[in-house]
Symmetry: C2
Subunit: 240 residues, 2 copies
Amino acid sequence: MRVTNDVGADRLAELARALADPTRAAFCLALLDGRAWTAGELARHAGVAASTATEHLHRLTAVGVLTERRQGRHRYVELADARVAAFIEDMAALLPPAPAPVTGLRSAAASTALARGRTCFDHLAGRLGVTLTEAMAAHGHLETDGGFALSGKGLHWMEASLGVDTAAWGRRRPVARACLDWTERRTHLAGQAGASLCRALFDHGWIRRVGSTRAVRLTDGGSDALQALLGIDASELGLL
Amino acid sequence: MRVTNDVGADRLAELARALADPTRAAFCLALLDGRAWTAGELARHAGVAASTATEHLHRLTAVGVLTERRQGRHRYVELADARVAAFIEDMAALLPPAPAPVTGLRSAAASTALARGRTCFDHLAGRLGVTLTEAMAAHGHLETDGGFALSGKGLHWMEASLGVDTAAWGRRRPVARACLDWTERRTHLAGQAGASLCRALFDHGWIRRVGSTRAVRLTDGGSDALQALLGIDASELGLL
DNA sequence: GGAACGGTTCGGCGGGCGCCGAAGCGTCGA
DNA sequence: TCGACGCTTCGGCGCCCGCCGAACCGTTCC
C-alpha cells in the first residue's frame, strides 16, 4: 500500500521548478534580505530584460513564493512569509560548501582559509561564524535554546556597537536562524541578524575577502574589535 | 554592496532543478520512507521506462540528493542523509494544503473534513494529526521540547500497541520530526514515526480515506482504539 | 498636454530536457 | 553454458521554457 499521494509529486515538482532557474534563484536570494524590491531592481540585479523579470515574478507569485504590492507605477515584491525565507535558506545551506575550481598546491591553503571563515550566502560560516555565534550567546545577545532568537540586549548591541539599523529589517525573513553547513558540525547565526552582522563587519573593515573567493580573513582591526566587543581571542582560536 | 554570491544562484537553481520534475519528485517522495529502493522499483513506481529512471537517478546522485550502492545486478539508492530528508519534508509541507478542485455546496463539507483529519504526504495532519501528537507527548511517548524525539517508551509502544516494525526504519530519514502546515498553526508528527503511525492506523482499519481525497475519517473501531491507547475522546474533540 | 519612466504583453527564436525503444553489458540462476 | 533479468547507453522525437525586442499601458513629473 502506498500512502503517498500521487498528485503530490506534481505539485512538489511545480514548487521546485519555480526555483529551478538561475534568474529566479537570484531573485529569491536577493529577497532574502527581507526587504521589498521593485521589479526593475531585480531585473537589473539579475541582468535580464524587464520583460523577462515580469514573467519570472508572475511565476514566483503564482506558486506562493512571493507576494506583490502595487504602488503607483512600481510593483514591489517580497518573500511570502518567514517559512518561505527559512526554506530558501535551508536549501542554500544544503549546497556543498565550495566548487573548488583550483587544484594543486594552492588547494590546501584555500581550504584552510575557507575553514577559518567564509560567507555562507549573506552570513558568516566557518570557525569565525561559529565563534561569533557562541560568543554572542555567552554575552546574552543570542538565545540558542529551542531555536535561535535575538535577545533585547542583543538587539540593542547590534544597533549600538555595530551600527546596524534593525528597524529596517523586513518582517518576512526570520531575524535569527540557525544554519548548519557541511564542514562545521556546529550551527552558526543566519537570518537577518546574521546577514547584518556579516555586512557590518565588512563595512567596519574588520573582515576582508580573500581574493574573489568566499573565504574571509579577519583584519588586525577586526581582531581588536572582536576582543573588545565579545572577548574573542582571535589568535588563540586560530582565526588569523 | 552586495554580499550574496552571484554564482550561488546558479548552484541553487541546479539543486532545485534536480527536484523540478514530477518523476524525480516522485522518486524522492517514495524514498522518504527511509528505505533503499532499486532503480527498477522506482521506475515502476513512477510509471517510466527503466532507461528514463537511470537518467533521473544519475542526476539526483550528481547533485548529492541520493547515494547509491551497487549490489550484484541491482542498484540501490536512498536519500543522501537526514538533512536531505528533512529538506524534502519541509518543501512538501510548504505546499498549500489542497488543490480544492470542487466548488459549490460540497466545498464546505470537504474543507471541514480536511480540517478534521487528512494525510500530509505520508503522515497525518489536521486536528487528528495534532491530537495524536499531543496525546503521544502527554503519555511520554514523544519528547517535544527542542525538536521532536521518540522516547524509548514511545518506541516500545509503537511496536507493541501498533505493531510497527521499528527495526525496519532506515537510518537516512529522521525518526520523529515536527511538521507545521498552512491550516493548523500547531505542529504534528512527521518523519518515519509519523509515517508508520499513519500506515498502522490504516492497516488496523482505524482510519479510512474519504473518497479519493486526502481527507481521512476516524472509524468506530478507531475511535475506541484511540480511547483505549491514548485516552483520546474523539467525539468531544470533534474528530468524528 | 507631452515627455519620461516602470511595467506588461506578445511573437519568435534557440536550447535544453524528458521521454521512449533498441541494443548492449554484467550478474544471477538453471 | 545459456537464458533471464536488471541496468545502462545511445539516438531521436517533441515539447517546454527562458530570453529578447517591439509595441503598448498607466503613472509621474515638467
